[in-house]
């Protein structure tokens, strides 16, 4: 299992290493003459964690993608460890200084308090900001991630409308993952299978349960795997446009972001359904857009604060964080009949001089009334 994940991360980094395009290239060691200030963007979703380092000239210095393991706290620690290793490999660990951390994704507040982030912004804003930087003309963003899908409409460079799937998870990455493993094909090949299909099969797209039972029936009737997968891609696109993109004007240029954008079958299905060109950010940047946006947002915030107050200091705990232990505790509040489950996160810190262990509360939430809340 672990081996497979390592391979996946390698795959991503190798993809990024190969690229030599203007903005997305990884800067070589030789270019680092003096210490650079960098901003870190972390996008922690339900399936994976994405970390990206951005310097003050908005060049991407380092990036990584890891599948989530256990809790978000563990994954973020693993992510940071991996980042440190990558920086050492490139020999630039001592030549950068992290001066701002932005988090996004569904666990943004938790990660913000654990690693000491400066801002926590929603995925929608992060994706929109990143897309505007990638292509200033962009008017529509389709984003399909691990557990949710969104559509963002931009006009004149500002978000004018957005929608998230509020009803079901059909059409998200997890569902495709599940179906791929059920059909016995690796998820990376999913798109290729769909492109190879010769005939059209109609699969119900309204709901994941209907889609799955339809797929089983069609398989039993003797359709090939390829055409079933193509039918599934078509159904997901229909479902997405009806449920999430309901009534929204989808105008070009259209950016397709999120992990599912690796799936070529879905890109083709989108283009056929919309009769418009769908652009996927190059070099695997499509999955990094959230982290990219978070880094851009924290950079903006830092510049604004610098201008207003004159100073800016990050709350980032540094890579020492890897030696700290984090512990979560939950209890049921007895204050009212709601019986909210309150979760607290503690940090165990060892004082290097005295050797004493210190316990520090970094976050606490989960209550409705807000009397326990610590952010």
């Amino acid at each position: 299992m672990e081996k497979q994940e390592l391979e996946e991360t390698k795959h991503i980094t190798s993809v990024s290493l190969e690229t030599q395009s203007m903005k997305t290239q990884i800067n070589q060691e030789s270019k680092f003459k003096e210490i650079r200030n960098v901003f870190m963007g972390i996008d922690i979703g339900s399936v994976s964690i994405k970390i990206l380092l951005l310097d003050e000239q908005e060049n991407i210095i380092e990036r990584l993608w890891l599948r989530n393991q256990g809790s978000p706290i563990e994954s973020s620690k693993k992510g940071l460890a991996q980042l440190k290793r990558q920086l050492e490999d490139h020999g630039i660990l001592n030549k950068i200084r992290i001066i701002g951390v932005g988090t996004t994704g569904s666990a943004r507040y938790l990660i913000k308090s654990v690693i000491g982030g400066d801002i926590a912004k929603t995925e929608i804003i992060a994706h929109a900001v990143a897309a505007i930087h990638y292509n200033p003309e962009v008017r529509t963003i389709l984003e399909i991630g691990g557990q949710d899908s969104k559509i963002i409409i931009l006009r004149n460079g500002i978000v004018s409308d957005f929608a998230m799937n509020s009803v079901c998870a059909a059409g998200t990455g997890s569902f495709l993952d599940h179906q791929a493993s059920r059909l016995g094909i690796p998820i990376e090949k999913f798109g290729e299978y769909a492109l190879r299909a010769s005939e059209n099969v109609t699969i119900a797209g309204r709901c994941g349960v209907f889609a799955e039972s339809d797929m089983i029936h069609k398989a039993q009737m003797g359709y090939s795997k390829e055409s079933i997968i193509r039918g599934l891609c078509d159904a997901l696109v229909r479902n997405y446009l009806n449920n999430v993109g309901k009534g929204k004007e989808i105008e070009e240029p259209i950016l397709f972001q999120g992990g599912v954008a690796f799936n070529k079958g879905l890109i083709k299905a989108f283009q056929e359904e919309l009769h418009k060109k769908v652009i996927v950010p190059e070099n695997g940047l499509n999955i990094m857009m959230g982290a990219y946006g978070a880094a851009l947002l924290v950079k903006e915030e830092a510049e604004r604060t610098q201008k207003m107050i004159g100073t800016w200091e990050t709350k980032f705990r540094g890579f020492d964080l890897l030696h700290f232990d984090f512990e979560t505790k939950a209890f049921q509040c007895q204050g009212c009949p709601n019986r909210c489950e309150v979760v607290s996160v503690y940090m165990h810190k060892k004082d290097e001089e005295t050797g004493e262990e210190k316990k520090e509360l970094v976050a606490r939430w989960g209550d409705r009334c807000g009397k326990w809340a610590v952010y």
Binding site: T122, I125, S160, M164, C336, R339
Partner: protein, 429 residues
């Protein structure tokens, strides 16, 4: 022997419902406990899967009161309107009886309050034999309920306006809770007629930021969902704490006035939404569309529509609002379809993004006109030169209730005339 009765709570409206029955001879009221997760779970377990969410919540409240508080008589409103609400009472009674509970649900007719069928329920509950005294009690109870529900509407409105301005977080929530408790336990009509001063003095103690222009949103949708803070995840408070001025469009008082045919506000909204929905299709559909158009004309920053997942009328309203955007409907809108889920994470993501969207909309949208005006209530409370006291001369104690009633009647009549003229003018142009 007195009957112990109860009813669904619907947020703070439980105070008004309690006032309607508390002073009725022969009846003891058990105030319903606030809705909790367990109650929702209980109701959802025994409800049909695709029924609207308020059905599940109210049924859960009944089960909770039967099992934990030994109450067996409930009052529930019915009507013969276009939506499912009218049949809640008989179906809930049937479900509960099928499950073996000994229960009686007394219906109270609300489809047109001017036909006075609702008084039958009150007369039936009362154990007074003298017919004149019986009517006297009904009139007194109705007055109490009406007065209290008007103050509930005032307090919730001020809550939405003031929370975004408070300096110490949590002040408004505390003041509102104290005021509601005070209102719930006050039974003297003479005192109640001066309660607006109590409200103003209480709110005046909150320290606020002056001269700010916060974002303004209208929160509206299905009545029960909007008024019950547990099920809408207390969206009014969440917005307020993020510094957004909330205009809560629904109130029980407004609904009752509408049922008495004297709600000029709702009549105006009906006229506005006429091109899109020509008749009342149930729920709050026409008024939601009306509020949207009005909000857009008044330069609001956003619009929140809350509705139960399977509510037909509200879904229709949603379809109409979405179908007309971005032209002519350009006011940013967010829809929250609410059902059993209690997870707040998805809502928080959308709420925060919506606030960011409204902020950038203010700066970058050419269609947006800044028409912000400080609500007159803020001025009335905080710029008072004369200190507010509860003391008043002897005669006013007797006279004020009457003059108050008269004033309300005159202003409502005047409003109706004004709206009629307005709509005539619209037609001419």
């Amino acid at each position: 022997m007195t009957k112990i009765i109860s009813f669904p709570s619907m947020g703070w409206s439980r105070i008004a419902f309690r006032a309607l029955f508390e002073k009725l001879p022969g009846v003891t009221v058990f105030p319903p406990p606030p809705v909790t997760r367990d109650i929702v779970k209980m109701g959802a377990k025994i409800s049909p899967e695709f029924v609207c969410f308020p059905f599940k919540v109210t049924l859960g409240e009944f089960v909770n009161m039967i099992e934990n508080h030994d109450i067996h008589t409930f009052v529930m409103s019915i009507d013969c309107g276009p939506c499912r609400l009218g049949f809640y009472a008989p179906i809930q009674e049937k479900i509960l009886k099928d499950l073996g509970y000994d229960v009686e649900i007394i219906p109270i007719q609300q489809d047109d309050l001017l036909n006075f069928k609702w008084t039958k329920t009150l007369l039936q509950l009362s154990n007074v034999t003298n017919p004149i005294m019986k009517y006297y009690d009904v009139i007194r109870c109705t007055r109490l309920a009406l007065v209290k529900m008007s103050y509930i509407a005032d307090i919730t409105r001020l809550e939405g306006l003031i929370r975004c301005r408070e300096i110490h977080k949590g002040d408004t929530t505390r003041v509102v809770k104290n005021l509601m408790d005070q209102l719930d336990n006050e039974w003297d009509l003479q005192v109640l007629h001066h309660f607006d001063k109590v409200i103003q003095t209480a709110f005046a103690k909150i320290r606020i930021k002056h001269d700010i222009e916060p974002l303004r949103v209208i929160v509206t949708g299905e009545n029960h969902i909007v008024m019950e803070p547990f099920i809408n995840m207390d969206i009014v408070r969440k917005f307020g704490e993020e510094g957004v001025e909330v205009h809560l469009a629904n109130s029980l008082y407004g609904w009752i006035l509408h049922k008495l045919h004297i709600n000029a506000e709702r009549k105006k909204l009906e006229k506005l939404s006429k091109p899109y929905i020509p008749l009342d299709i149930g729920g709050e559909a026409i008024w939601v569309v009306g509020h949207y158009i009005e909000g857009q004309n008044q330069g609001f920053d956003g619009f929140i529509h809350l509705y139960p997942f399977t509510c037909m009328p509200e879904n229709t309203a949603r379809g109409i609002l979405e179908g007309q955007s971005p032209d002519p409907f350009y006011l940013p809108i967010q829809f929250y379809s609410i059902d059993e889920h209690t997870g707040y994470e998805g809502m928080r993501t959308r709420l925060e993004s919506f606030i960011d969207l409204m902020n950038s909309n203010r700066q970058g949208n050419p269609k947006f006109q800044n028409k912000y005006r400080e609500p007159s209530e803020i001025k009335a409370i905080y710029d008072k030169k004369v200190p507010l006291t509860n003391h008043s001369p002897l005669f006013s104690e007797v006279l004020t209730p009457f003059t108050n009633n008269l004033n309300i009647l005159i202003s409502e009549l005047f409003n109706m005339k004004a709206t009629k003229q307005n709509t005539k003018g619209d037609r001419n142009t």
